[in-house]
């Protein structure tokens, strides 16, 4: 078995197809997340994604249950169960849509800054982004919610994607890192 070499994203930035908007956004998101987690001693929190995983699992659970039940008790018998499963499934789909639009709002990374003394609640850093289809403007937003006061601060920027990839489609990690660090310090030094 070949030895597994773990290269950091900085050493080995991803190469993407520059005409695939999704791939651009994913690469930028991953880079922003990598910067936030590697340059500061923050701990990633998976709560948001876990919530989405639970909602989706429950939805898929309903459909798997319906599938099995219908095999065991063919249709006219299984009518009530089918009805319940179908309605529950579509409710879960609605919940999922609501969750991603109103709770996640494009947040792809949540990082916690532990209180040095371990007494106050953690500071919560969120990074969210959006990139419209066929657009080259990557909107990045970094927010901080102070654990002690509960006050929220934020900073936004718009990155023009072509400046962050070279001609072969390799991500320019350094340039992204610079922007993220700038945003981070903007937020940190912002007065409420």
């Amino acid at each position: 078995m070949p030895e597994k070499v773990v290269a950091t994203m900085e050493e080995n930035p991803p190469k993407v197809n520059k005409w695939d908007g999704n791939a651009l956004k994913n690469a930028l998101d991953d880079a922003v997340k990598d910067v936030l987690l590697s340059r500061f001693s923050y701990i990633e929190s998976h709560k948001l994604l876990d919530g989405r995983l639970i909602i989706s699992s429950v939805a898929v659970g309903f459909s798997v249950f319906a599938l099995i039940w219908d095999l065991l008790y063919p249709f006219p018998q299984s009518r009530t169960v089918m009805c319940v499963c179908v309605i529950s499934y579509f409710i879960m789909m609605g919940v999922l849509t609501w969750y991603t639009t109103y709770l996640e709002c494009g947040i792809f990374c949540t990082a916690l800054k532990k209180d040095a003394a371990g007494i106050d609640p953690d500071d919560v850093w969120n990074a969210s982004s959006s990139l419209k289809r066929f657009d080259n403007k990557y909107h990045l937003r970094v927010t901080q919610k102070a654990g002690k006061t509960g006050k929220a601060k934020e900073a936004r920027t718009v990155l023009t994607v072509e400046n962050y990839f070279d001609e072969t489609g390799k991500l320019l990690y350094g340039s992204v890192a610079k922007e993220v660090l700038r945003l981070h310090s903007d937020v940190e030094h912002k007065k409420n």
């Binding site: 993407v16 876990d50 989706s56 939805a59 249709f75 009518r79």
Partner: protein, 179 residues
């Protein structure tokens, strides 16, 4: 190297994101399944949409027409209606017109069918010794149709390898394509 680039997006994902990727695929399949089951509940038919596979009902229906069925218990079966029915020993349901109906006062019914384009009635198609169809043989009554669309299904069924190739291709695309 092309292959590596193409999987790079996946390689950067953590275990949660990969799990969601699989769930996302499962949800696409589930949505289709649940729409189908939902239609079953609403129409009362175990197969609410069928594709006409033969020319036996021409000129009413042609090969490849898509039929919408309902199967409500309170709607009686009448001569002249087009029904889809199952026959023991045959996998594929048949779409034909009801010719004769015998109904008792307690609601039990037996009926005979025939394809508009066939010269003889369906007794030869029924199971050995079966002369009439019963209520339980009915999958549904035709309520509406869309011409030609079902030809895709027919092609898929005629070339199963093509069908599996298309399905596998779509499945792999969804699995490896990140959001």
């Amino acid at each position: 190297m092309l292959q590596l680039d193409f999987l790079d997006d996946l390689r950067r994902m953590n275990i949660r994101q990969l799990f969601y990727q699989v769930l996302n695929f499962a949800m696409i399949v589930s949505s289709a399944l649940m729409i189908w089951k939902g239609l079953m509940v609403v129409t009362g038919s175990e197969s609410p949409i069928v594709v006409v596979l033969s020319g036996s009902m021409e000129p009413a229906f042609h090969r490849g027409d898509l039929l919408f069925l309902t199967n409500y218990d309170h709607e009686p079966i009448r001569a002249g209606e087009i029904v889809v029915f199952k026959v023991e020993g045959r996998d594929i349901p048949i779409v034909h017109r009801v010719m004769k109906v015998h109904e008792k006062e307690d609601g039990t019914v037996k009926f005979l069918t025939k394809g508009d384009n066939n010269n003889v009635d369906d007794r030869g198609l029924y199971a050995n010794g079966q002369a009439w169809l019963n209520r339980k043989d009915v999958v549904g009554r035709a309520r509406g149709y869309v011409p030609f669309i079902g030809i895709v299904t027919i092609i898929m069924n005629d070339y199963p390898k093509f069908k599996y190739a298309v399905l596998a291709g779509l499945g792999i695309f969804v699995l490896i394509h990140r959001e």
